[in-house]
Amino acid sequence: MHELGIVFHIIKTIEDVAAEQNLTRVSKVVLEVGEVSAVIPEYLQDCWQWACRRSPLMNGSVLQNEIIPAVTYCESCGKTYETVKHAKVCPHCGSEQTYLLEGNGVQIREIEAE
């Protein structure tokens, strides 16, 4: 439930990039949201418009969320599988010696700006 904090964080990051590259207006932000990142994309959208109105650089920009599927790796059999479907237990061999490969993070992929 810290979507608003994350949105502020994203805006701050983009403001830094914009200052560096002399960008004055951002029209779109593409975000990669991990499937098990505990960030809820709908909440992000809710916070987005509200937070962007406070920033001249960001005002009116669109947030596009790309969901990155969560993948778990099994140390016992070396295969990977969908985390959300099978959680900690490997569906190939039943082992619990598994760890999350990806799908836990949030990353800004790119922005469209002038």
Partner: protein
């Protein structure tokens, strides 16, 4: 002018990791141990703190950072013990991030302290997601919350070094199964240290104090060898 696409490829928590690393370094430099105390609202964070101050306060110089959305009730309680305390307001946010902690530590001053506790926001989800650069992550699960919490909030149990099961004095009233909670927590985190405690009766605190003393001695030795 045309809109052009700029690749960013920046982790949203990258800043956070950097600030956490800064805090870790600051603690090492000053020979101070930082403990991040987490748990649901009402789990007993402040009560446990009071017990730990009582047991460790004569031997170690302790500071407390109280994070709250918008009050200073806990900070007053801690201040009444004569302990140095700083109140941090998160302004509505549900967790402390590493940058907030780093800035708070800078104004708090850490050089003359051996041990700093951060009482995090009462929340079993968010604080687990923000590594703040603590040396010890201590979470409190209280008996009335139920022994199924590791199943429902796995991340908190995965990132913690210590799980205190507080309010163990109320176990007969609630059907809390301590062993089941431990098995569930350990399936997420094999190394987690689990201690049943009661901030009311003081039960279990010998073990917690011993654990913290060990970590404090390690930190002190590391500092002296530098």
């Amino acid at each position: 002018m045309e809109f052009k696409t700029t690749e960013i490829k920046e982790r949203v928590l990258a800043d956070n990791n950097e600030a956490a690393a800064r805090t870790r370094e600051r603690m090492r430099q000053s020979g101070t141990l930082l403990v991040n105390l987490m748990g649901s609202p009402g789990a007993g964070k402040t009560s446990v703190l009071l017990k730990l101050i009582e047991r460790l306060g004569t031997q170690y110089r302790i500071g407390v950072m109280e994070a709250d959305v918008d009050s200073d009730v806990d900070a007053r309680t801690i201040a009444a013990t004569g302990t140095r305390v700083i109140q941090i307001h998160t302004g509505g946010l549900c967790h402390m991030d590493a940058d907030m902690v780093s800035r708070a530590l800078a104004s708090f001053g850490v050089e003359d302290l051996d041990l700093i506790f951060l009482e995090n926001i009462g929340n079993l989800v968010c604080p687990a997601e923000f590594e703040i650069g603590a040396d010890v992550r201590m979470m409190i699960l209280s008996v009335p919350e139920g022994d199924d919490k590791p199943l429902k909030y796995p991340l908190m149990f995965s990132v913690s070094d210590v799980m205190l099961v507080n309010k163990i004095d109320t176990a007969p009233i609630f059907d809390f199964d301590f062993d089941a909670a431990v098995v569930r927590a350990r399936s997420l985190n094999a190394q987690i240290v689990c201690v049943p405690v009661s901030a009311k009766s003081g039960r279990g605190f010998d073990e917690v104090v011993q654990f913290l003393r060990m970590r404090l001695d390690e930190r002190r030795q590391m500092h002296e060898n530098n």
